[in-house]
Assembly symmetry: C2
Homo-oligomer: 223 residues x 2
DNA sequence: ATGAAACCTTATATATTCTATGGTTTTTAT
DNA sequence: ATAAAAACCATAGAATATATAAGGTTTCAT
């Protein structure tokens, strides 16, 4: 019988062990599953590299946030995904993330375009099994919370914000004063005001205060 | 026991009857289902209007293409959805469509943002029942083919085309010659050439012919 | 009441995009 | 193989949109 090889990457050993026990104990029709695990970015990359010229994993289960071994730029599950797409493009990638916020999901769906995205609170035995089957045969597999975020994005797909708009929204959301934004956004004060006005009109909160703008951008998944 | 009221709109009576028989025969835990049907745009709108000040439907099942009663601008299920969102915003809307092309799905997801989208070839008893439950309790519900289209869109979300770009791609795909496009796009010939060049660079098919551009835009779900 | 920040307006400057023109290369039909 | 048609490319000037500077008004907190 065919063996499906899975590599589960998560700094919480309990998670990877959970995936391993559940999936290896499941009786699939056409195959059995073997789950390999890795706890760090480096360990995961090494296992992937070793697999390139031999068996190659069928599925990668990636947590997004991994604890850092050394100081420096954060090495996340997203980076593992980007790396894996290059060296083993045929391997299916599924993110297992505690993040259900739109911003993060949107980012992952663009940079890696994974075959699956599961929000951790929605993972259980049944969904894990369904995920494996769907990802292998007829991707993608998204859990409900991921789907809800995706739906929001699709509904607001006509609204396009450039980097400056996003920065303005971000600084606004953390309470930065408009006049202080010139230090962060590389635009003149009137331009920033102008863009804020424009954003308010785009989000349908004309003539309302900044709080309304922040709330609405959050609702639509832009912050 | 609570009754869930559904209005199914489709010009093929076989479809609406199928939904009716299956759903009314299903034993749901907390409710039973009553399915009303309509075969035309006008009949559907009338039933919706009549419901506004009385029971109000819980779910609308809408086919996109409806046969035309009179000549004139096509009145589609999409229009019914837009109308329903205005007069009965709390009613859940699900499209039951033969279209699985990206363009159509993307459009619907923006204009109506329905709680569900089912591609007809994927509809069966089980999926119908799951759809009702999901849409009522935890939307959205999309079938796999719809999901595949949505995934494509999300992965290419950074590429933004305006109306003129879309027209150029469309006319290109139906074999219109570049020089003839000036009659359709309201741009000068050099501008069209320029946009084509730009599109090719955006889609990563620089220095290749138009066929490559068309193929790539199709792959990414823009045509 | 007063100062600070936010908000708005107008004129000018800057940048982007479109067009017109004229050329070169590629394709197509004979 | 060759001539005509279409596609492709480059440049300069026109049109459009966006940013800035300067100055005024409104709003809010103390």
């Amino acid at each position: 019988m065919k063996t499906i090889r899975i590599l589960a990457v998560d700094d919480h050993e309990m998670s990877t062990m959970g995936y391993k026990f559940i999936l290896e104990d499941t009786e699939f029709d056409d195959f059995k599953v073997f789950v390999d695990t890795a706890k760090t970015f480096d360990a995961a990359v090494e296992k992937i590299e070793n697999s390139v010229n031999s068996f190659q994993y069928d599925i990668l289960l990636l947590d997004i946030q991994l604890s850092q071994a050394v100081e420096g730029p954060a090495k996340t599950g997203e980076d593992i995904g980007i790396f894996a797409r290059k060296v083993i493009p045929k391997t299916k990638i599924v993110f297992m993330s505690s993040f259900s916020d739109n911003y993060r999901i949107n980012s992952i769906l663009k940079t890696v375009d994974p075959e699956g995205y599961m929000v951790k609170t929605e993972i259980d035995q049944k969904s894990l099994q369904a995920m494996v089957l769907t990802v292998l045969n007829n991707p993608p597999y998204y859990t409900q919370k991921a789907l809800a975020a995706i739906r929001k994005k699709m509904a607001n797909d006509d609204i396009v914000l450039d980097e400056k708009d996003k920065k303005i929204l971000h600084f606004l959301s953390i309470g930065t004063k408009t006049k202080d934004m010139v230090n962060h956004v590389s635009l003149s004060l009137p331009s920033i005001e102008n863009r804020k006005r424009h954003l308010k009109s785009v989000f349908g909160v004309e003539k309302q205060n900044d709080q309304a703008l922040i709330t609405e951008s959050r609702n639509r998944g832009f912050i």
